[in-house]
């Protein structure tokens, strides 16, 4: 479904990603784990079109999306839920969600999707008319996920969905991700919370200093000596 091949990318003269390749098949939950600064966020920004790769290619459903702008990538069915939530602070929760359905293929189903999304996040129904900035961190993360789902993506990418949240909220977030995956949406998660993510994923990649160093089934990675020492502290 998604195929990233030998991608180099960075900002200005700084090279962040070197020769990165990965693939995601329909219906999978795939995770990329790695330390802070390994290039995980840059990788998702590159796939979504916020960063243009210098070399290499990205294809989605067999079509080349390497040089598409971010708004065009969304139209193809690839949505990124960015790190730090990035809500529209002075807009209501409802307007935030409606913005999620801005893309051409999603806007016609906007009301239906909103209904479905609110079934999944009943708490947000009470918050619809509140400004996004007035919500708690956990609620804001739920709005960010719900807003991403409003685009009716085929591939939904999460950038550090558990960052800065209390442990009980982190558990809720991963529950929600499991529910999203259960609806048939393909999921790609980037996380520092290695244990939780590998538990939730089918397959995983390990990114270190901008290079892919490992790739295996999530189960196998949880047993991998290097992963256990470097990321799980066991």
């Amino acid at each position: 479904m998604l195929e990233v091949k030998n991608v180099d990318a960075g900002y200005g003269s700084t090279v962040i990603l070197q020769d990165v390749s990965l693939h995601v098949e329909p219906g999978e939950v795939v995770t990329i784990v790695g330390a802070n600064g390994a290039g995980k966020t840059t990788l998702l920004r590159t796939i979504s079109g916020l960063v243009t790769p210098r070399t290499g290619s990205i294809t989605f459903e067999g079509r080349d999306i390497t040089r598409l702008a971010a708004h065009e990538t969304v139209d193809r069915g690839v949505t990124l839920i960015p790190e730090g939530r990035q809500l529209f602070p002075d807009m209501t929760v409802r307007d935030n969600l409606l913005m999620g359905a801005y893309s051409r293929h999603a806007r016609d189903y906007q009301d239906d999707t909103l209904h479905q999304v609110l079934e999944l996040f009943p708490r947000l129904r009470e918050r619809l008319d509140q400004h996004a900035s007035s919500l708690s961190g956990g609620e804001q993360q739920m709005v960010a996920i719900a807003r991403g789902m409003m685009a009716r993506p085929k591939l939904l990418m999460f950038d550090e969905p558990s960052l800065g949240l209390a442990p009980i909220i982190v558990a809720q977030v991963f529950e929600v991700i499991a529910q999203v995956a259960a609806t048939g949406t393909t999921v790609l998660i980037v996380e520092q919370n290695v244990f939780h993510t590998l538990k939730a994923a089918d397959r995983g990649y390990v990114l270190e200093n901008g290079r892919m160093v490992l790739s295996d089934d999530a189960e196998a990675l949880l047993q991998n000596d290097h992963v256990r020492q470097a990321y799980l502290g066991i």
Partner: protein, 295 residues
């Protein structure tokens, strides 16, 4: 008492005039985050267009708005696309401001070249006649300007809150990167917004043309005052610019009568400095989101 009421009425009418210039300025600043120093020259261009169309076709100057507002939309959109957008990746955002200063000078000198320094009087078609509202006398044209300013502010607010495109414009202003992730073409939003802001002053210029003689430098006077209104109301706030304009109109009229007509502008700009020192966010100011500065 009658005099006082008359001065208050004059001030409100003047405020309407400032408002219709200030609304587009604050819209462009609030969304594109560019201070358009050429806004006054957009007004001047619009007034000349109104003058040419209404004298050439012998129609009421108000009718020319149907052509002038779209023409100014195109001028604004082209300014964003050809002048501002290529500079958006510039390391220093002030470069964009200097570019609009350059555009302002270029348009002013172009007008001098074409029309000379003489003033052009747009036919009034009755809008300079007076009506009595109770005890006060007002020009019908001034009433129309105030009414148009009110309609414009309400219309823009509804557009921004209730339409998909309006929401996309607000979203882009609040978080540009997130807006792109929603599928919003941010470059198009900026072009559209600059166009709408310029079209607003285009509408204003058709209403102002029969009231004021047009000259190449007419924009300078209006835009300086409009800046004060925009800052008073809170940069980027459309209702703020409107109420700021009414306040400045009143200050201008009252100080002109009670302090001295030579000192009106001194009073207005003293207030401007006081706002900058005491409450730089203005009356309706929200926190400034400059997220466009980061990549």
């Amino acid at each position: 008492m009658d005099t006082f009421l008359q001065i208050v009425a004059n001030g409100l009418m003047l405020g309407g005039l400032f408002a219709i210039v200030a609304v587009g300025l604050t819209l462009i600043f609030g969304i594109v985050k560019v201070i358009n120093f050429a806004h006054g020259e957009f007004l001047m261009v619009g007034m000349y267009l109104s003058f040419l169309l209404s004298t050439g076709l012998d129609v009421h100057p108000y009718l020319t708005a149907a052509a002038v507002a779209p023409a100014l939309f195109v001028l604004g959109a082209l300014t964003q696309r050809l002048l501002i957008q290529p500079l958006m990746s510039a390391r220093d955002e002030h470069v964009q401001i200097f570019a609009t200063v350059g555009l302002s000078t270029a348009l002013m000198n172009l007008a001098l070249l074409i029309f000379g320094a003489d003033i052009a009087n747009t036919p009034a078609h009755g809008v300079r006649s007076q009506v009595m509202l109770g005890e006060v006398r007002i020009l019908t044209g001034q009433l129309w300007v105030l009414a148009a300013a009110v309609a414009l502010v309400i219309g823009l607010q509804l557009f921004m809150k209730k339409t998909r495109t309006g929401r996309a414009i607000r979203a882009t202003a609040q978080n540009r990167a997130a807006a792109r992730l929603m599928g919003i073409n941010d470059k198009f939003i900026y072009i559209l917004t600059f166009g709408i802001g310029a079209a607003c002053v285009g509408l204003g210029s058709s209403l102002i043309a029969p009231l004021y003689p047009t000259s190449p430098t007419i924009g300078t006077y209006f835009v300086l005052i409009a800046f004060v209104c925009v800052v008073l109301g809170g940069l980027g706030s459309i209702p703020g610019a409107f109420f700021g304009a009414l306040v400045i109109g009143l200050v201008d009229a009252l100080s002109g009568f009670y302090i001295g007509s030579d000192l009106r502008e001194a009073v207005v700009f003293t207030i401007f400095l006081l706002i900058l020192i005491l409450k730089p966010s203005g009356l309706f100011g929200t926190r400034m989101n400059l997220s466009h500065v980061s990549p």
